[in-house]
Assembly symmetry: C2
Homo-oligomer: 254 residues x 2
Amino acid sequence: MTDTAPTAALLIIGNEILSGRTQDANLAFIARHLGVLGIRFRETRVVPDEEAEIVAAINALRARYTYVFTTGGIGPTHDDITAECIAKAFGVPLIRHPEAVRRLEIHYAGTGMLNEARLRMANTPEGATLIDNPVSTAPGFQIGNVFVMAGVPMIMQAMLTGIGDRLVGGPVVRTKSVASAIPEGSFADALCAIAADYPAVDIGSYPAFRQGRISTSLVLRATDPDLLERATVAVAEMLRALGGEPVVLDGYGE
Amino acid sequence: MTDTAPTAALLIIGNEILSGRTQDANLAFIARHLGVLGIRFRETRVVPDEEAEIVAAINALRARYTYVFTTGGIGPTHDDITAECIAKAFGVPLIRHPEAVRRLEIHYAGTGMLNEARLRMANTPEGATLIDNPVSTAPGFQIGNVFVMAGVPMIMQAMLTGIGDRLVGGPVVRTKSVASAIPEGSFADALCAIAADYPAVDIGSYPAFRQGRISTSLVLRATDPDLLERATVAVAEMLRALGGEPVVLDGYGE
């Protein structure tokens, strides 16, 4: 399935993901959020907290996709280098954003805690616009088609939800799932024929082991609801003809 | 922290990850497994089930890292195109691997189930060597520095565990964690000074919200145990001087 809808990529910045310390929880959330907006999520990269890696990845992705999202590296410590790297990628100076400073001043007013390290969280590339952080104040930012967000899932989710009006989507991809106990190898040829009949429907086949038995979920995705319905019926009938008892579900069937 | 140890990248192949249907569970496992072997895990990419995307990513990654691992796309259905793509990336023909056929014939003997679709799981690039699949027989394969594995976590884990003798590691990176309730912004400057004192120690700072309170985990990583110990003591003393009650843990502290 290919179309002309806007596209997106995600850059996950963080040694903690590549060391296995932290299980990423942002990719799947962003994927579903973009799906609802009608934006095609095409690629993710995970890179370490190193300037050359971040700059190269940002420049590769922003040239290729309508929107690029980043997570991680915008806190106050020495390993938080995302803002500097984005400025370098865009070839603009890093500035202290006055509105970001104002927000931090209000947040920390009377605490005596607003030191230089915390003020670093107000640094953005010149020309950036802020992304609100309703959880802990320190903002993300947008420059060009790049949206820089926190890595902490609760904060990232609030940031992403808050920038919906800056993202223009296309037709939304709708999803149906057909589950059965027929193993993949037994319907692969018949499924291939259905996929050829419906080139505008993306069909994926995902085996799983549940309670010691194989279960297969066929996921159909398309923007046209009638086409999606017809392809789903074809898949269900194919499985029934093979002796399965297919269960058709909206979405992914959770 | 940079060194001359072997490096690795992971290519996750699958629309189901980019649609948000499936939460990847392989990255973190591979990260920790490579860590134990002394291999530096430097990058991950997630791409859709599309030939051009897979071929381009494989060729970019295999030129850059000592080892490249892939997950996904080696089943019997039409959306399983990894073997064809790896053959194209290496510029060699796709063949039906005789030993893989033999294993499938034994596995399906007497069932009448070994059809053309299942035999596709015996296809490999010419010159590949098999990776054992003790769970469901259909093998992965290695060609050059690229290791092609299943996407189902149970199978991937068995495959990765089985190829340990093909992977040459370097010095193992050791890890210590120091947890405290001091927020990042209050120790960022002092931590930056310690990081500058210990350039061979990678220090990451990770805030978390636990039971409504901020908790920060400082993770120190280095190959030299004495250096790691000294940097860990410095971090703990710094936090204690700020009024924290630092807890030092081996590894990531789970």
